[in-house]
């Protein structure tokens, strides 16, 4: 079979796999965002015990491989009678994983905003929550976009470990293809190129969002402050 013929068979299947990779990536990123934003604020503004709790969570997640986290949820929890499907396990493990990283990204963004912003907001009578919602968060979201782009890219790539719990994402499909056609090189080159193209597109899109969201004059401002 020549490569073109092979592609005509492989591409539709790989895309079906890719859709599942996407689903896992974006659900995990969403869970991660829901964890990351409040955790980052707790880390910066919360009481000491809360800060420590968040730090402990981040250290544990970042200090262990995502695969170990996934296996703990998928294989480990059933030992205690808690059983999740492979896909749900993926959401939980990768969601927590992304949550830890996103906490750090958002913390960095929040801390990059000068404390004067919070003070000015409080000085006109805003509550702390109002100041966070109206002043800090809109700026933090803009600052976090570059780091967040990295997180999207790395989640897409990390989702490939789901192959090991038999979720039919792209790597799982690739494994089936190469078992049938016995052409590992062509298969994984194809998979690699598909990842490359998809990630390039996403990077580009996030880059244009970043540009579009840029606060007018901010760049100039930064330069004059240096």
């Amino acid at each position: 079979m020549d490569y073109i013929t092979y592609l005509s068979i492989a591409i539709p299947k790989l895309f079906a796999g890719l859709l599942i990779s996407f689903k896992v990536t974006f659900v995990s990123l969403g869970i991660g965002l829901l964890i990351g934003v409040p955790a980052a604020f707790a880390r910066v503004y919360g009481p000491k015990w809360m800060k420590n709790l968040v730090i402990a969570f981040i250290e544990v997640i970042r200090g262990t491989p995502a695969l170990v986290q996934l296996f703990l949820v998928y294989y480990g929890l059933p030992q205690f009678g808690v059983t999740f499907s492979a896909l749900t396990s993926a959401y939980i493990a990768l969601g927590l994983n992304s949550g830890a990283y996103q906490t750090e990204y958002f913390r960095g963004a929040i801390q990059a905003i000068s404390s004067g912003q919070m003070e000015a907001a409080r000085s006109i009578g805003m509550t702390r929550m109002q100041a966070i919602r109206l002043v800090i968060l809109p700026q933090a979201f803009r600052l976090v976009i570059p780091a967040w782009s990295n997180e999207v890219v790395s989640m897409i790539k990390i989702s490939s470990i789901l192959y090991l719990v038999a979720v039919p994402e792209m790597m799982t499909v690739a494994r089936e293809l190469y078992a049938r056609y016995f052409n590992p090189f062509q298969t994984y080159i194809t998979v690699g190129v598909v990842y490359l193209i998809i990630i390039s597109i996403i990077t580009y899109l996030l880059g244009s969002i970043e540009k579009k969201m840029k606060i007018p004059g901010m760049e100039l401002d930064k330069r004059s402050m240096q």
């Binding site: 000068s114 004067g116 006109i124 805003m126 007018p216 004059g217």
Partner: protein
């Protein structure tokens, strides 16, 4: 202790330490309505801390602060409510970077004073006009000069209709040629009868508009009085020395 009715700010025996260093060593003072009080003194003597202890951006260790008969140091006081009417202008402007000049002024009107958008917009434009920046209302802070930023910051405070304005070295971060435009706005404000407490080294401004100059050193008020007395004939040698030094600079 019952504060006088025309007193806007009353401070009693305020103490504040950072670690081992005691920055305020029991400061007491009272500011009456329409007074323009200038706080001067060497850096690190607690002027800014004193200012920030008034609206509780810095929490004093002990002592009391009243603004318009409401004790802000009382933990039962709703501090957010109290701060609505205490304007504060910062050395570093602290405009909200993601908002236009107009939105900077409108934000508090809408979310703190709960005005509707149209009323807030109208009021905000009025305040921007007052500081001479109505034509810059769509500019973001990054598109304004330092002097313009500070004037927008003043408009943002004024829009809340404060009973007193606190200025924390409002011109110290400005290039010399931009200081004048900010001082003009502050001067107008003083002439309109706004009660003001300013930390500043602008002696000319103090001479022209202040009703009282307070000289602080090492966390204490060491001398105070009308500008004519303090600037021309201070009782203490130390005050004379200090004012001589900063006058040379200006």
């Amino acid at each position: 202790m019952d504060p006088k009715t025309n007193s806007i700010i009353k401070i009693e025996d305020l103490h504040k330490s950072y670690g081992q260093e005691e920055v305020l060593k029991g400061v007491s003072m009272e500011i009456a309505e329409r007074e323009v009080v200038i706080l001067v003194g060497p850096s690190g003597t607690g002027k800014s801390t004193l200012l920030r202890c008034i609206n509780q951006l810095t929490t004093p260790d002990s002592g009391h602060v009243w603004v318009r008969d409401v004790e802000l140091t009382d933990p039962k006081t709703n501090i957010d409510l109290a701060r609505q009417h205490i304007g504060m202008v910062f050395q570093s402007f602290n405009l909200f970077n993601h908002l236009t000049a107009l939105d900077n002024v409108m934000l508090g009107l809408i979310h703190v004073l709960k005005q509707d958008k149209e009323a807030a917009r109208e009021k905000a434009m009025l305040e921007l006009e007052r500081v001479g920046l109505a034509n810059k209302h769509m500019n973001y802070p990054g598109q304004l000069s330092g002097g313009q930023k500070q004037r927008v910051a003043i408009a943002r405070s004024l829009a809340m209709e404060p009973v007193v304005m606190l200025f924390d070295e409002p011109t110290s971060a400005l290039d010399p040629e931009l200081i004048g435009e900010v001082l003009v706005v502050m001067k107008d404000l003083a002439l309109e009868g706004m009660t003001m407490l300013c930390v500043t080294h602008e002696i000319g401004f103090a001479r022209d508009v202040s009703t009282r100059i307070v000289f602080m050193e090492h966390g204490n008020i060491v001398e105070q009085g009308p500008p004519s007395k303090i600037l021309n004939n201070p009782s203490l040698e130390r005050t004379k020395q200090f004012l001589g030094k900063i006058s040379d600079l200006h």
